[in-house]
Amino acid sequence: MSEDPQIRASKIVETYQPVAAHIVQATKLTDTEILLELRLGNGQSLGHGAGQFVQISMFGVGEAPISVCSSPTQTETFELCVRAAGNVTKALHRLEAGDWVGIRGPYGHGFPVEEMVGKDILIIAGGIGLPPLRPLINLVLENREQYGRLIIVYGARSPQDLLFTDELNLWATCDDVEFHLIVEEPDDKWQGPVGVVTVPLRKIDIEPAKTLVAAAVGPPVMYRFVAFELLQKGLPEDNIYFSLERRMKCGVGKCGHCQLNNLYVCVDGPIFCYSDLQGLEEAVEAWAPPTAEAGGKRREPGKGHG
């Protein structure tokens, strides 16, 4: 740091200062999820890429990282889909049109959209995993001719938990979208298949070399079941992308909370290529095939305490 302190100081940006954003619309999607449409108070566009996230502030409650779930081509406003999980997210559920929040970002490493051009795209979403994938789906749909097949597998706990139902209907009726919907706990009216995302996944035929997979699937353990299925299909590790979640405070690779071995989920992710995660001990739970071997070894208890 031999630089002149004055010069140094003048270059400093307010990393943690959020800008105000106004709620244009708040729509309840399910009992636990709300969709917020926001507009930045400074009139600028968020300028996010597919897979990136923002830090949203409910002042007095705190900040939470939330994936931007609207298409990057939508620039006037952007959308966040929030599940009520804790204090911040519950507070976000109380928002109405006209209210304001603080926004930092967009942050993180999104999907490699250029690489995807010309490929078949397989999207796997489980529960709250759909929102971070939605910008990608929209992007592909908006530029449909640039891509090969678009296959979407979406699993939810019950029909009541399904997000973006209008869009689901659209995808289901689109000729050039192969859409598979599955729920774990059907109700009386449910006519579709029952089970977890790996059930339809198993049946899908793909051409491994020209397929690119993007997946985000709710609870951490689900990742390794999905990974297992994909590897079974012979997909190269380089072609698989996962969106991960960790605890996160700063969003800029400083606070240490989201560290996954040597990676920071906030700057190196949240979208990771499967091959980059190979061999990382702390990713084992998510990545190892679901054999007793690998899973068992890790959970070996520390002598009587844990």
């Binding site: 007095g60 409650v61 804790g86 204090n87 519950k90 002598k303 009587g304 305490h305 844990g306």
Partner: protein, 256 residues
């Protein structure tokens, strides 16, 4: 918020030294700010009025008599939000120390041949009798935590007591660790939130805020044993405050 009526607050006490309520009274200026936000409708220690209608109940003290059980159940039914205030209400504190004797024995020790005039049951914290929505730990209740919990309640936020040991706050305050002075301290296994007040005043931590969620009692036992304490004495040290749920140190000890 403005259109709604102010939430009604009540304070109750069971067997205890009433130090927690007194601490709350000592908030003074802050208390005046709080009264802007809520109506205090019952507070025996501070006012004559009483009301059986309240939304938020702060309860201090331990349950030590049959009649107390009925009383706390009634409070639980009446209040939307029940808060255990202080160590007696939250972890049993010294009150539960008598549980190591039979109740006949303690009554005779104290009242001799008049023992049958009085009744007592094994002491337990309020948290062991009814579910509580918020906890304030400490002996006396830690005031910063009380204010935090108060604000959380009014903002509809959950409050999880910090799951970190006192050592964290000790470090943030740049205290010299009391172990460096050759003294014993329960800080490494005790839940913080007190701003490390005892250790900041050069004293050891006695554990008044209860144990952290997953204390390494094995480590604690090894460390205390280095200072020549027997297992019995170590258990005794923990039991000054931590009496509920029953703490079994012997079992968790793998000889190390």
């Amino acid at each position: 918020m403005k259109t709604q009526a102010k939430p009604r607050v009540a304070f109750f006490d069971f067997a205890c030294c009433e130090g927690c309520q007194l601490e709350v009274l000592s908030l003074e200026e802050q208390l005046l700010e709080m009264i802007e936000l809520v109506d205090i409708v019952t507070w025996r220690e501070a006012m004559s009025e009483k009301s059986d209608e309240y939304d938020i109940a702060f309860c201090e003290g331990s349950i030590t008599r049959e009649a107390d059980i009925e009383r706390i159940k009634h409070i639980r039914e009446t209040a939307d939000i029940l808060v255990s205030l202080g160590a007696c209400a939250t972890i049993g504190c010294h009150n539960a120390l008598k549980n190591q004797f039979s109740m006949d024995e303690v009554l005779h020790i104290v009242y001799g041949d008049r023992a049958e005039w009085f009744d007592t049951i094994s002491a337990r914290p309020i948290t062991a009798v009814v579910p509580v929505d918020y906890q304030v730990n400490g002996c006396p209740a830690s005031l910063p935590e009380f204010v935090t919990v108060f604000k959380h309640i009014l903002m509809g936020k959950e409050y999880k007591p910090p799951n970190q040991p006192v050592c964290v706050e000790c470090k943030l305050k740049d205290n010299l660790c009391v172990y460096e002075k050759g003294m014993l301290c329960l800080g490494p296994v005790t839940r913080c939130g007190c701003d490390a007040i005892c250790t900041s005043y050069g004293h050891a931590c006695f554990g008044c805020r209860g144990l952290v969620d997953d204390p390494n009692l094995n480590a604690a036992q090894d460390v205390l044993a280095k200072y020549g304490l027997s297992v019995e004495e170590i258990v005794g040290k923990f039991r000054v405050y931590n009496n509920w749920p029953e703490l079994s140190l012997e079992e968790s000890h793998s000889d190390g």
